[in-house]
């Protein structure tokens, strides 16, 4: 028996490259494979100036009004997890993308793909959480759609939400505006969402339950805007791919180098312990309730102070700076004084054996 048997089964990929002829899960990881997928297959086909901004949300002009538009699709498994469910997540994810462009979220649409056999009590809990999140965010869900597919064709519920927001005056954070000398602030502790999901999915019982940080970040962004106004150069919520991927994207889009201090990273004890156990790096773990803010160094303390005044920003911390050296690279200064490059991952983070 040989590789020919594999080929005969139609299950071997064309040598020598690993499967390049079809979608792999890693294409959805937020890492390099995701970026390649966009760059090679999507962007060239839909090329236009608005799409080319590549921010968390697009900024469009309607008459004299400038609006932010963003869309996101949620496929989380399990549907319910400590700290939220797919319904609340679908609201938070999209309003946060608008907030990261400096926009106040106003309207949402929601599209649902429901799997045959989904218990109504699960659907009700998801919709209840979604309604509560909509109310709390002060937005209106103004249009929606439902489709039902055969059992096995979806995983319970898939949700897409699209949001529209109004750009706030004199506040224009953008991923290409980071400049050497900027300080990098994170609004809260990292790694909670990804670890909460993984613990729920794998049935891992940790001593301390870790809750997802899923939350509406607009009030916190507005607080920062009140304190610093137009001085904020970049806002980014490090969701899929974590802080490491978000910072790599900003470094690339702004053409700058980024330096992080390992000792300054706010990583909750239980997240750190879970990552140790699973062989994961918290820098690549998803967040749904924190953002990165780039501000001129002179405003760094003001930014941290303003964020800490809000309940969601109590764990805010200064974690690094933008530098002229090593453009487009994110470098971490380790606790003991060494350095290492924090690269984008090719695909999903894979737990290590040893």
């Amino acid at each position: 028996m040989s590789l020919d048997t594999l080929a005969a089964a139609g299950l071997v990929c064309p040598a020598p490259a690993p499967a390049t002829d079809r979608v792999q899960l890693g294409h959805g990881s937020g890492g390099k494979l995701s970026a390649t997928l966009l760059r090679q297959r999507f962007l060239p086909r839909f090329r236009n100036d608005v799409l080319a901004q590549l921010g968390d949300a697009a900024v469009v002009k309607v008459g004299r009004e400038e609006l932010a538009v963003s869309t996101d699709t949620f496929v989380v498994s399990p549907l319910e997890f400590p700290g939220g469910n797919i319904g609340s997540l679908a609201v938070h994810g999209t309003v946060n993308d608008l907030a990261m462009m400096g926009a106040q979220p106003l309207y949402l649409s929601a599209g649902f793909v429901l799997e045959e056999g989904l218990p109504f009590d699960v659907l009700d809990r998801v919709l209840d959480a979604m309604a509560a999140a909509v109310r709390e965010a002060g937005v209106l869900l103004v249009t929606g759609d439902t489709k039902v597919v055969e059992r096995g064709k979806a995983d319970g519920i898939f949700v897409n939400t699209t949001g529209i927001g109004r750009l706030l005056p004199a506040f224009r954070p953008a991923p290409d505006r980071a400049r050497p000398g900027d300080a990098i602030v994170i609004s809260g502790p990292i790694g909670r969402h990804g670890i909460a999901i993984m613990a729920a999915r794998e049935g891992l019982g940790f001593e301390a339950q870790i809750e997802s940080d899923s939350a509406n970040l607009f009030p916190l962004v507005d607080r920062l805007r009140g304190a610093l106004g137009g001085a904020v150069s970049v806002l980014r919520d490090p969701t899929r791919g974590g802080v490491a991927s978000a910072l790599n994207e900003i470094a690339t889009q702004s053409g700058v180098g980024i330096e992080l201090d390992e000792t300054a990273l706010p990583i909750p004890g239980p997240v750190s312990a879970a990552c140790e156990l699973l062989g994961l790096d918290p820098l690549y773990v998803a967040n749904e309730g924190v953002f990165l803010a780039f501000v001129p160094a002179a405003f760094a303390d003001d930014a941290v102070e303003a964020l800490r005044m809000h309940p969601l920003g109590r764990g805010a911390a200064l974690i690094g700076r933008v530098v002229q050296e090593h453009p487009r690279l994110v470098v971490l200064r380790t606790e003991i004084g060494g350095t290492r490059v924090v690269d984008m991952l090719p695909g999903d983070q894979l737990p290590r054996i040893c």
Binding site: M1, S2, L3, T5, L6, A9, G10, L11, V12, C13, P14, A15, P16, A17, P18, A19, R22, V23, Q24, L25, G26, K32, L33, E202, L204, G257, T263, G269, S272, A273, E276, L278, G279, E325, H326, P327, R328, L329, V331, T334, E335, I336, G337, G338, T339, R340, V341, D343, P346, G347, L350, P351, R352, I353, C354
Partner: protein
């Protein structure tokens, strides 16, 4: 975290670096055997801090790197079968076989699942009696007890749809092979702390004596590794060649006897091929004949699958410390972390992947390799 944060203390680590620099009268060449230690060294930038005083060669103790390509191809073959649910530790999924990796097989419809323990794989077998559940039993003496336990439990419970694809290797024969090689550069070893937690260190004593080489059983945190290096450097400077134990909070000389007993009841010593290095006599573990029914190679008739490495890949020379990754002609060109030719480019503890990232830091102009 208690028992962890104190071994990551920056002040203690910097003091140790200064002591190593003061102790080393010339640049010594040390090898850390274990991939977990390589990971810490790279992650914390220890090699950079020690530059000029100690050269660290990254050893062959990364199971991802040394699992032979035939075994990867056999795994791919099994994962592609309709009746098989293939389970593995996560980082084996991106290791390239002859033609692709397990992730690619999954994308093509193969049923591949990441598990955190072989006992989880056994549990899957009990839950899915209609499927053949195969666990990819790779690794060193560290993972062998848990894998032995899974097979033992499977027999106890009478689970008939569970098998293991075994590619276990052991550390001491690899060290002997390295030391016996005419172009060996290694002057002292950091032995792998967790391997020794299971096995103890008696088997290293004859190696230290015969080859006159210091061996320090070492842990995995930055302070552990720096302490281990300091102990090894002091031995070299004083002309000693003993086995010393830095990782005393975990390792005893005789090791973990119940774990060793279980391993030797389920496994026997066999010759084993190491990826990039070749066959090393008596360097692996295989299932004993009385557990043959749990052997995936036998159940699925995989003995006939043979494979060869890409001729472009020089991973073997890298793993033996003969070639720096940057000296490989494929490095950064045909071989990158996204498209690895050899296993050391796959995981963050692989020597090639480590150099790939550091090369980028030293040459920012070529940042977009």
């Amino acid at each position: 975290m208690k028992y962890l944060s104190e071994y990551r203390d920056g002040r203690v680590a910097r003091a140790l670096v200064a002591k190593i620099r003061a102790a080393a009268s010339r640049p010594w060449v040390l090898m850390e055997v274990c991939g977990g230690q390589t990971h810490t060294i790279v992650k914390q930038g220890l090699d950079e801090l020690l530059d000029g005083a100690v050269e660290m060669i990254h050893g062959p103790g990364c199971p991802v790197c040394v699992t032979p390509i035939e075994q990867i191809d056999r795994a791919l073959h099994l994962a592609a079968r309709d009746d098989v649910l293939f389970t593995s530790f996560g980082d084996m999924l991106r290791v390239p076989g002859s033609a692709c990796d397990l992730l690619a097989i999954r994308a093509r419809g193969g049923n591949v699942r990441i598990v955190y323990s072989p006992l989880d794989a056994l549990e899957l077998a009990r839950k899915h009696p209609d499927r053949q559940v195969v666990f990819f039993a790779v690794g060193f003496e560290t993972t062998a007890p848990a894998n032995a336990m899974a097979v033992w439990r499977a027999r106890e419970l009478g689970v008939t749809n569970f098998t293991v694809l075994v590619s276990h290797v052991t550390v001491p024969p690899a060290m002997i092979a390295l030391l016996g090689s005419p172009d060996n550069r290694v002057q002292a070893f950091l032995a792998a702390g967790h391997v020794c937690t299971v096995m103890g260190w008696t088997e290293y004593e004859p190696i230290a004596a015969k080859y006159r080489v210091p061996i320090v059983v070492t842990g995995f945190e930055p302070v552990d590794i720096l302490e281990g290096i300091l102990m090894a450097v002091r031995q070299l400077e004083e002309g000693r060649h003993e086995v010393e134990n830095q990782y005393a909070r975990s390792v005893r000389r005789e090791g973990n006897q119940p774990a060793q007993d279980l391993v030797s009841r389920v496994f026997e010593v066999v010759d084993r091929k190491w990826r990039g290095i070749g066959e090393i006599p008596r360097s692996g573990l295989g299932l004993r004949p009385e557990f043959a029914e749990f052997d995936a190679e036998r159940r699925f008739g995989l003995e006939g699958i043979h494979a060869s490495e890409s001729p472009l890949c020089h991973a073997g020379e890298v793993l033996r410390g003969r070639l720096k990754p940057v000296e490989c002609p494929a490095f950064g060109a045909q071989c990158t972390p996204e498209m690895p030719l050899g296993a050391p480019m796959v995981s963050s503890e692989g020597a090639c992947a480590a150099y790939y990232h550091f090369g980028r830091l030293r040459r920012p102009a070529s940042a977009e390799v």
